[in-house]
Point group: C2
Chain length 190, copies 2
DNA sequence: ATGATTTCTTGATATTTGTCAAGAGCAAAA
DNA sequence: TTTTGCTCTTGACAAATATCAAGAAATCAT
């Protein structure tokens, strides 16, 4: 059983085998190499990907700086939601940080799921709410915490990422420079 | 036609009159006075409200500080989504900043809409995506902007709030102290 | 209208974080 | 293996923001 199947099962509880097979059959296993781009900003994002294994980084890059907005790990979806849904140019760039395996669905196939699986909208809604809550927490962390507090919280809950993701990207994700990040780390290790 | 009807119409485009009436009939007009609490943290949030007129502030208050997480203006919904959906204790407190009129629906009635209006899940999804994008933007603003830049952007896009909302709440919403907020304002006016 | 309370502004100072620069360490390419 | 390029750390200094305090202004309660 794949991560995708487990993910869907975890939301539906006991899920009809047929429905599960139907949903999963519309996702295609897609390997991408470290450094490869899943999406470039300005392009239409016409697919939704689920990380079976590996890491994806979602970021914006301008002349002066690069901002890491999100890092998708195993078990997370990755897309530019606004572009995917409203068919606008994508704002984000998505790149693999390591060799990565995705389950990817096109927008056309995505639209079919609702017709094939009656409970699909329920899964969709729960998925969006889950994302919403994560984002809400992140905003709250910026409103209420110092950089060091955010580091501590993130380290406590994502320890394994520190060996897998370049530290500068974690720093950016938490809203600080790599220098500040290093200083905080040094403080914590002493 | 109420704000709620206009809101729903703006998502469905041309909407079946019957469907619109059905949805709207499940929302009850609810006035609340300035200072009144719509929701207290720790309680179950069992309703979803739409702001017909007025202002609601969503915040967390602890011994040391109070963090304003969101301010719902006319045309926005207000709820603790996690509590509403998963029936957990609410994290946020929601209070009226001025006399406010809401269209409020209970969770039980909310569940009925999907059975009565076939396209409801589509509206629901678009609503969630709209919120998602707003949240994404807010996170990005914290990762990539200074407090002053956030102030400028917010002022440009929400000018009318500056006469309606206590400035300390806007400061908190943007992630800065009232002192910093005042200093930035002074700078902008000269 | 008056008094009490709260909000907002401002100054002084402290703290946090960013910028710039350079060196050490690590990873990738040849 | 060596060379090149990139990442991370560290120091010095600058800038942004928070904290503390007090006064002015605005709002609320009577």
């Amino acid at each position: 059983m794949t991560e995708l199947e487990q993910y869907i099962k975890s939301y539906f509880g006991v899920v009809a085998i047929d429905d599960l097979k139907t949903i999963v059959s519309l996702f295609k296993l897609t390997p991408i190499k470290k450094g490869e781009f899943l999406l470039k900003s300005g392009k239409r994002c016409d697919k939704l990907s689920f990380v079976q294994s590996g890491l994806l980084r979602m970021f914006i890059s301008t002349d002066e700086k690069e901002i890491t907005q999100w890092i998708s790990t195993k078990g997370y979806f990755s897309t530019d939601l606004s572009s995917f849904v409203f068919e606008t140019p994508s704002r984000w760039t998505i790149q693999a940080l390591v060799d990565t395996e995705l389950y990817t669905i096109t927008k056309d196939d995505y639209k079919k799921i609702g017709d094939l699986v009656p409970k699909w909208s329920e899964l969709e809604k729960l998925f969006l709410i889950r994302c919403f809550i994560i984002l809400e927490d992140r905003i709250f962390s910026h409103l209420s915490m110092t950089a060091e507090e955010r580091y501590n919280f993130f380290f406590k809950n994502n320890r394994e990422l520190f060996n897998q993701v370049p530290l500068q990207f974690i720093a950016s994700l938490l809203g600080m420079t790599p220098e500040t990040f290093s200083r905080i780390r040094k403080k914590q290790l002493s």
